[in-house]
Amino acid sequence: MIPLQWYLYLALALFAVGLFGFVSRRNVIIVLLCVELMLNAVNIALTALGTALEDVTGHIVVFFVIAVAAAEAAIGLSLVVLIYKRFREVHLDEVKMLKG
């Protein structure tokens, strides 16, 4: 039996990798992947916690997170398609009409 802590360390490590990728990469597709990575890192933690607490809530939350992540990917990718059609580019540094 692997102790709970190991799962949580794995989840935190994956979340940190995703966060680092989010702030360092400029390709929108990669950034979207990093968000997915962060969500799935939390899913690992939720599954492990649910098992450890012998409570089904943690597992249920995972399903909701997966569903929401799917909706988010659909919207994100359609935005990327529109951006590509308009700018011929999916690089965040090239998409700069607004000042911020």
Partner: protein, 468 residues
């Protein structure tokens, strides 16, 4: 309040909104007269409000509580939805997105906000937040021929999904420490340790993104400038109110016992938000960006009410959000009125000499700017007064002093618009795009600002009874 496991009556307004929204999205192709959707959306808002009024109750175990707190916030959401729908057609027709999906998405967003306002379960609040955010990402980019809208939508989407990842991480931590997601039970089981504090911090970051708290406000100016103006009006008021609804419930109910800890976290953010928002508003030359930074600053004031941690503070937050709906949507209504293709009417210099050309719109803009500054006898003054008073009563007089100082800075960008309108000669003439519905929205907003400013009594009474 009636209680049962599956009390669908308590969810009546949300069910109604989803049904109407689905209808509008599905039958958009079949119905050629697009004004039909406008009238359906307008009427549906009133019906939804009536349903909110009549169906209080608890449902799905302890997950969903349609109480007076939820009802007051739903009133704010529906009010801003109503006003935003009123200012939409003239703009949407010109830009080619006057169709069913547009109104349907507004409805879905409001449904998500309602779940956030009445959710007493972290999972339900998360789902509501996502429903709201995903709808608004699409709304920002709904004018897909406009590259600025696409860029604003993409930025909002990327930072918003980062925020939701933080929210779910915070949820996992709180779940791991307390073994439950119900707010009331979290309150019972919460013991303050570093892990719980990290969870609270993640919640603050995630909801701070939604209310545009500095330093998580970077998306706000771009998304507000890129989005179609009616959408900007809607998201600047309703999405902010929804974020504060969830903040109020989570921090003052679930994390109430950790108040001495999270107030230390929240106060620096709130002060930073007030000052950064107001100082950056000073240097903006685009009116939508200026109003975006002003909305960042207003989020800072409202955060002080949450930081007070008292019932009085929370009721002042509700009052402020209600008043903010009138004055901010009114200001964006004037922007919609004057806006033309190609960025004309978006620069603050386009407001020069407005009073000479169009005295009545200029007078209304003056009223909204005075209210946003907080000059009596407008409603904005009442909102600020009760908010800062609650902060003083909670034992933080220096915070109120800082807030007043920030408001003094805020006077500059607002009164500069007034100065341009009344004391400068017009540079170029802009034909206002008036329509009856836009004037109706402006009229309601102006009336709201004046009436609440002069007779705040009954509203104050309603607000005091709306705090859990």
């Amino acid at each position: 309040m009636p209680f049962s496991l599956l009390n669908f009556k308590a969810l009546a307004p949300e069910i109604f909104l989803v049904l109407v929204a689905s209808f509008m999205v599905l039958f958009d192709r079949a119905i050629r007269a697009k004004d039909f959707f406008f009238w359906t959306a307008l009427l549906g808002t009133l019906v939804a409000w009536w349903l909110c009024r009549t169906s209080l109750g608890i449902s799905f175990g302890e997950s969903y509580t349609a109480d007076h707190y939820g009802f007051f916030l739903k009133t704010i959401f529906l009010l801003s939805l109503f006003l935003s729908i009123l200012i939409s057609p003239v703009y949407a027709r010109r830009r080619g997105f006057h169709f069913g999906e547009y109104y349907g998405l507004l409805y879905f967003a409001v449904c998500g906000m309602m779940l956030m306002a009445s959710g007493t379960d972290l999972l339900l609040i998360y789902i509501g937040l996502e429903l709201m955010s995903l709808s608004i990402y699409v709304l920002v980019a709904v004018d897909w021929r406009d590259p600025r809208g696409l860029e604003g939508g993409l930025k909002y989407f990327l930072l918003g999904s980062l925020a939701s990842a933080f929210l779910i991480l915070g949820l996992a931590i709180i779940y791991g420490r307390t073994g439950t997601l119900f707010l009331a039970r979290i309150h019972q089981h919460l013991s303050v340790d570093p892990a719980v504090l990290a969870g609270i911090a993640f919640f603050l970051v995630a909801l701070g993104f939604k209310v545009a708290m500095v330093p998580f406000h970077m998306w706000a100016p771009d998304a507000y400038e890129g989005a179609p103006t009616p959408v900007t009006a809607f998201m600047s008021v309703a999405a902010k109110a929804a974020g504060f609804a969830a903040l109020g419930r989570i921090f003052l109910l679930a994390f109430a016992s950790a108040h001495p800890m999270w107030i230390k976290l929240l106060v620096p953010f709130a002060v930073l938000t007030m000052f950064v928002g107001n100082i950056l508003a000073v240097v903006q030359t685009n009116i939508k960006r200026m109003l975006a930074y002003s909305s960042v600053a207003h989020a800072g004031y409202i955060l002080l009410g949450i930081a007070a941690g008292t019932r009085e503070g929370l009721s002042a937050v509700l009052l402020y959000l209600f008043i903010y709906a009138f004055m901010n949507i009114g200001a964006f209504g004037i922007v919609t009125l004057l806006q033309r293709e190609g960025g004309v009417g978006e620069s603050i210099y386009d407001y020069q000499g407005l009073a000479r050309l169009y005295p009545f719109p200029a007078l209304l803009m003056l009223l909204f700017m005075f209210s946003l500054t907080g000059i009596p006898p407008t409603a904005g003054f009442m909102g600020k007064f009760y908010l800062f008073r609650s902060v003083v009563h909670a034992g933080h007089p220096w915070l109120a002093v800082l807030a007043v100082l920030a408001s003094v800075i805020a006077a500059y960008p607002y009164l500069r618009i007034v100065m341009f309108m009344y004391m400068r000669e017009p540079e170029r003439e802009i034909q206002p795009a008036s329509s009856l519905s836009l004037w109706a929205a402006l009229g309601i907003s102006a009336l709201g600002v004046l009436v609440i400013g002069l007779y705040p009594g009954s509203l104050l009474h309603a607000v005091m009874g709306s705090v859990f």
